[in-house]
Symmetry: D2
Subunit: 160 residues, 4 copies
């Protein structure tokens, strides 16, 4: 039976998610960290830095999309079998407001968990002195690669 | 009259695009550079670095989406009036194959140029010793902010 | 000030929405009707008929998308000025489960209401003897055509 | 080995596609017909009728999306094994121009054919006395249901 979305995860799942997240070079490079891991629900936080900006000084949509993608991907991954890995099939993001503030927080939430495909809804909030505002919403399709443990590929071009 | 998509730009447009691109902190942080600027057609290149990886050592979909977003945004911006700026309204990316190789190249191309909204198609290729492969396709809606020159906001939270 | 999403509409707004809906030839042809009109929230119902099926006998994704599109479009339109009209800029739908049952119900809800662009979230449910299930989720961008009242174009090719 | 996209199909594939299309009640109800079947490339035509209109007398985006969805779905299906069926996972459409004219023509084309997932690009054109114009572009993800022949479900609620 599938655990309820939003229910607490055991330490094994938490470690599997955090271990995989730490292997995402991009997340460290963007200064993003996982805030919370629940069944089918993962939150990622990214404080503002000039290295994350677009031309007007706001957060670049690419960074917003990156943490939304990882939040959704790991939300799905909490529900996958142990010896599997997760890939994003497609991602769609609507940018509602300029992403402006001290930090962004992306929340990925599973809407439909399937054996092969899992669908997530994504929300990205900006936190500032003025409060919290919703800056982006998204939808994402994930695929479960069964029997392919989530480990770095040896000798993979790019992994070097 | 609108210039033909893919036709050469004058040095004024080229400077406007490259100047704005240089103000995108994220592009520099990702090691991305503009390869080519044509009317309604912009190409961005991003060599592989471990800082761009996801958990398996491939390029992270967030980086792929980020350069696709900037390529499309600047493709549209080449056709906008001088005293305007560009924002992404929404972005959708299908990830066709693991993004693996020495570098990614994102091509943004205007399909419909409107006074308010401009629609782009996006392609991202991976270049490796084995050749070039298409790793992602996308669609994007841009909005032209007329009368708002493309300059950093003073005192903007985040611009600091 | 903008009315709260989900709050009751006056009879003028209700009439404007229902009048426009009745001019949508496709909705009548699909047997779809408006169930509810609230500020930024519209529900459309479509009972099953063999004329709505895909090849396996389920509701065709095209019909599902059509009522989701109209529900979102009219949800946005409730918040638009009187002398304007609404057009869909783009629509994205994830089909979560086979759309099977006695009727589909599409709920369109405004997430961000802007002067030019309005963004909606869309949900489509299937009702059957077994209960209600979520069969599709979507996101949609609408544009407000200010100063263009919502009337049929005279002599328009297609309007004839 | 996979056939080249756009190459002619044998009569077995043509029959499989046209037979399945004829079981789509919605396509007949919309007056849509298949114009062409090639490997990974299917074209569907839909003449204008008032029953297909939105509130201004143009083609409704729902009808536009419906034929785009079927064109892409069958484009993918030409490449699937004989005892399989096809379902749409997700669909995204940008509406570039008012869909106005004597007929719409949707072209679905496979961009990536996979064992499980297939990705298509979609284009919809409007034909009128003035010529042909591109009115919509889309992207679509299909899933191949292996071992589930494309036949109507018996006793399925909805198939009755």
């Amino acid at each position: 039976m599938r655990p309820e979305i939003g229910s607490p995860v055991g330490s094994d799942v938490e470690q599997r998610i955090r271990g995989s997240f730490q292997r995402q070079g991009l997340m460290a490079h963007l200064g993003a960290t996982i805030s919370e891991v629940r069944h089918g629900l993962v939150t990622i936080r990214m404080p503002f830095r000039p290295e994350l900006s677009q031309q007007h000084g706001y957060f670049h949509a690419g960074g917003t999309s990156a943490i939304a993608d990882s939040a959704g991907g790991y939300a799905g991954f909490t529900l996958f079998p142990e010896d599997s890995s997760v890939l994003t099939v497609e991602l769609k993001v609507n940018l509602l407001n300029p992403a402006q503030g001290d930090a962004l927080e992306a929340v990925g939430k599973v809407v439909k968990a399937g054996k092969t495909l899992t669908i997530c809804q994504l929300e990205v909030f900006a936190d500032s002195a003025k409060g919290r505002s919703l800056v982006a919403i998204g939808q994402q399709t994930l695929i479960c690669m069964a029997g392919r443990p989530d480990v770095p590929a040896e000798g993979r071009h790019g992994a070097r």
